[in-house]
Amino acid sequence: MSQASAVGGRDGAVDQVAGAVAEIAGRTPWQITRARLAKDKVTMVAMGAALFFIVLALLAPVLTHFGLLDPYSNHTDLVGGLGSLPKGPLGGVSPEHWMGVEPGTGRDIFSRVVSGLTVSLIVATLAVTVSVILGTVIGIVSGTAGGRVDWLFSRITDFVLSFPQTLMLIALSTIVIDMLQSALNMERTVPSMIFMILVMGFFGWPIFARVIRGQVLSLKQREFIEAAHSLGAGRARIYFKELLPHLWAPILVYTTLVMPQNIATEAALGFLGVGIQAPTPSFGSILNDSVHYATSDPAYFIFPGVTLFLVVLSFNLLGDGLRDALDPKADRQ
């Protein structure tokens, strides 16, 4: 534990081991991270799971095109009885329908869940991208400019943070989606996704701005910024070439932490009947319907619910693992 090689990048100083004058090569932060990650089995599993979900989500449209997934066809013969519940046990689970079928229509739940995964992941990823871009730019500008500019941006950050995100999402949904629908002249799916991306992205930037600003403030004192200044480097060059490489770590960590929150928020809003709605499959819209069948067809609620849980869990685990791996202080005992 006290080997020089195990100490974080902050002080790659040479450590005295009695007698040994072995070649102490300082490791780059990236190498340290990789080593830590490799030891952390749980995080590796989480990363695998997260990647699996992402790949599945990306493949879903292709699979649907080739008929392997079918979220839209009705199979009314598979449901029946009073209330049109799925025939067969566990909500109609069968070799063709791994998660059973939807009451009332007989649509394949597995296909719908996978298509929903696509929609949810697209929305969550793009939303976090918007937050990252906005937050990083504001954080860098705020941190480097200092003084009045910094004060102004900090107040703006506080202002945005005062608005309750969920409530604003709900309150703005009908208005903004209607506007987008008329402006783009499309049916509801794409406008509702754009709405979620923009509004979630907008209410997410303060976190990134705060973190980036903090990082920038501590980096500002370092010599290489001064050096760049004295060499005559323009502001933009400083911001982007010098600072950014040091910022990817917190950006990555917070991205993996915010992603699952976005996925969960979309699901919660869909559950309330706001945002992305049927017939577009998304975790929210599927659960909004399945909630009502909790007592009569629990499988319809459990399968998508558990899938959502696993997706969120894997991203959370990944985020935790990354944060531990990237944290310079983590090895200290």
Partner: protein
Amino acid sequence: MFYYILRRLASAAAMIVLITATTFAIFFASPIDPARYTCGKNCTPTILEGNRKALGYDQPATVQYVKFISGLFVGRDFPDNEQLRTEHPEQIVHCPAPCLGYSANQHRTINEMVAEGWPISLSVAIGAFTLWMLIGVGGGLIAALNKGRWPDRTIVGSALIGFSLPTFFVGLVLLTFPAIKWGWVPIPNFVPFFENPWEWARNLILPWITLAFFFAASYVRLTRAYMIETMSEDYIRTARAKGVATTAVVMRHGLRAALTPIVTAAGLDLGGLLGGAIITESVFSLHGLGYLAVRSVTNMDLPTIVAMVMIVATFIVIANLIVDVAYSFIDPRVKLVS
């Protein structure tokens, strides 16, 4: 010190004004006609116009905003019609200060609706807060002190699971099984505290657990992280070296330092919750402020939507203010900076 508080108060007030103005601007600048949703079936253009005039929607947004602000201080009358006031005063609804507006959709003043929903949201928030602080901080403490060993792993694992389960999922499972299917607790139906404290608690225990699930998980992680950081500080090592008993070390030195950021976060979370736990209230059909907010959106009840957003944002600002001022008392470094 005094000036610091004064400055924070002024800043908070300014923030609230800004929030109200922005909310107003967003919603009244929207293309949706608020008068349209005050008129039921058989709505003719004449009735629509009449409603629009009576509720003041035909005036420019700035005028409406001024009327709203003045209503907060002196109260308002709906419909704001001189003729009606003299001829049929019994038909005028008087909304006393602070008047948040009138919902033609629900045929009542927003004050009434908020007054009804507020005790419920407060009850839910306070109970959940107590529960999650006890479990969260307690759990985090145990985990931190047993870092690496099995209590730590179990607690961290459970916290992660709790953190990843969607609130509505937890709520629904709790509603379906313990309440509906097994009958361990009644299906939540709000009983005011002063009417029957025992029933009040019995009915709210499920919503409390639902909310606490997520927050407790969050606070376990938070507490554990801060405690670990604090416990590795040099002064802790010194105290131990000096021979101070472990309990004293942990509680008096360790926890107290770690508690400050935890309490800060808790204050902010509580502030946000006072505006209504939207998901929980929806799942359990509790008619608090969160439920009111959702319903006003479904009904396109613009005045209520605006009022709700403002109320919740105001709570958050005030929570921020309280936390900042309290922090300045606890943490001596703040005084120096300001």
